[in-house]
């Protein structure tokens, strides 16, 4: 009798565990099967890997030497895409530069429901990373980043829009001797969270943010060097203080 009860308890426990696993697996399957793709379009776009502004009378080293990952979060349903890379950009004298990779973006229009609440969703994601790379000197005036270009067309392909102009001052820097400000990012942490981007896939426009994550190790992220004797307004872009844009005062 005692053994029988023990067996019964064990069998019930095993049953409960199996039931739990099946339910978890099943809920994922139900979620996936409760979505219907209605339409999609593809377009190849120059996709931002890294951007760096330099102050007039100064220079910037943006170094992401090891593995870094750009995460693009787009649209009201926050669809995510990532690309991984290692880059260094070293603009100077008020120039701004950026590096891009040609990526195939897909816009999808989904009907979701009824099990997950019936509604329509626009989703944007990268479906393929192509082997075309582009390092561009961003056009604009040298003394400030107010008019820096935020999109372009090159080699027949449009770029994403990337909003990284100087808008307003977060701080003022005046130096009497050469001064360097260094911004680092720890392993598995993100920076430039909140840098806004717009993706236009054949007229289907999604807006969102890009952030860059340190995937492996810790290294210098941005170094801003200011030469004497000048002064600048600094706009810290995004929601962290890594990516700076400048307006030279004197």
């Amino acid at each position: 009798m005692k053994n029988r009860t023990k067996n019964w308890v064990i069998s019930q426990l095993i049953w409960a565990i199996c039931f739990g696993i099946v339910m978890v697996t099943n809920s994922a399957i139900v979620k996936a099967s409760d979505e219907y793709l209605i339409d999609y379009e593809d377009e190849d776009l120059w996709t931002l890997r890294l951007i760096a502004h330099s102050p007039e009378y100064g220079e910037t080293i943006a170094s992401l030497y090891q593995s870094w990952s750009n995460k693009f979060v787009l649209g009201p349903f926050s669809t995510e895409s990532t690309i991984t890379h290692g880059i260094e950009l070293n603009p100077s004298g008020g120039n701004c530069s950026a590096e891009f990779r040609l990526c195939r973006w897909r816009w999808e229009y989904w009907l979701v429901g009824p099990l997950n609440g019936e509604h329509y969703e626009d989703r944007w994601r990268i479906i393929q990373q192509l082997d075309d790379y582009y390092t561009r000197l961003i056009t604009g005036t040298l003394d400030n980043c107010m008019t820096d270009e935020e999109s372009f067309t090159y080699d027949g392909y449009d770029s994403q829009e990337f909003e990284s102009r100087y808008v307003s001052s977060d701080r003022t820097i005046t130096v009497e001797s050469t001064t360097t400000y260094t911004r680092t990012i720890q392993n598995n942490a993100y920076f430039t969270a909140g840098l806004e981007i717009v993706v236009d896939v054949d007229g289907n426009i999604g807006s969102g943010v890009v952030s860059i994550k340190n995937v492996k190790g810790s290294s210098v992220t941005y170094q801003y060097k200011f030469y004497p004797t000048h002064s600048w307004y600094v706009d810290e872009l995004g929601t962290t203080d890594h990516l700076w844009a400048f307006d030279n005062r004197w």
Binding site: N3, R4, N7, I10, S11, I14, W15, C18, I21, V22, T25, S63, Y65, I83, T84, H85, G86, I87, E88, L89, N90, P91, S92, G93, S97, E99, R101, Q129, D131, D132, Y133, Y134, T135, R136, L137, Y154, D155
Partner: protein, 225 residues
């Protein structure tokens, strides 16, 4: 009494069954996979350095590098990814646009190319990683294989240089890494996966479930009655 004894045996057999299933489909493959590291092949030449100091408005340069792959009989369960990086420096009198093209051949057969445009750079330093280009295992054979990278660099300035322009292009850290396939996407690479096209986790769950004791026990009790 007979039923109880049979039930005890059923549970014991079930535990053994669970152990066999999970060891065969999960434990052994995961262990074997973690004990084996992916192969990495490096080129004959550590780096390709193109250094151009000239007053010419336009120039063209080319270079080549090769990687030898010695592959065993099981290479077909993997693809291979070739990766390289570019370290570049410009000190030019006028903005200069340079196009770098790397054509990749596997045993003489064209595989793919990487293109990188460096536009309007005058005084500039930079470094770029390129994502690994896949060399399909179909283009490879057992034994010795040769992967060739043909590089061409074309540069043009916006105006004829007023002094000697310097452009340094250094292709570094070229390597080929084994990229084992995982056809069913269950995290177990094909080389270690008994069920290459079936998710081992689901299979283990299903096999555990179909031998579940209450199912067998119900049959025994029914039979005894």
């Amino acid at each position: 009494m007979v039923i109880k004894m049979k039930l005890d045996r059923v549970f014991k057999i079930y535990v053994v069954w669970l152990a066999i299933v999970s060891i065969s489909f999960l434990v052994v493959p995961v262990f074997a996979q973690t004990m084996t590291s992916d192969k990495i092949f490096t080129p004959k030449q550590a780096e390709n350095h193109i250094l151009v100091e000239t007053t010419e408005k336009e120039w063209h340069r080319s270079d080549i590098n090769t990687i030898e792959l010695e592959l065993g009989p099981n290479f077909y369960v993997s693809d291979y990814g070739i990766a390289m990086n570019l370290r570049y420096e410009f000190n030019a009198s006028y903005p200069r646009t340079t196009v770098c093209i790397y054509k990749i051949y596997s045993n003489g057969e064209y595989v793919d190319r990487i293109k990188h445009t460096l536009e309007n750079l005058q005084k500039f330093k930079g470094f770029s990683t390129y994502g690994a280009v896949i060399i399909p295992s179909e283009t490879l054979k057992e034994g010795a294989n040769t992967i060739t990278v043909e590089m061409t660099f074309d540069s043009i300035a916006s105006k004829t240089p007023s002094r000697v322009d310097m452009v340094s292009l250094k292709v570094v850290d070229m390597s080929i890494k084994e990229m084992p396939r995982d056809t069913d996407g269950d995290g177990l690479k094909d080389a270690f996966d008994l069920l290459k096209s079936r998710n081992n986790i689901y299979v283990t769950l299903i096999l555990s479930f179909i031998a579940f004791p209450p199912i067998s026990a119900t049959r025994i009790i029914k039979k005894e009655n």
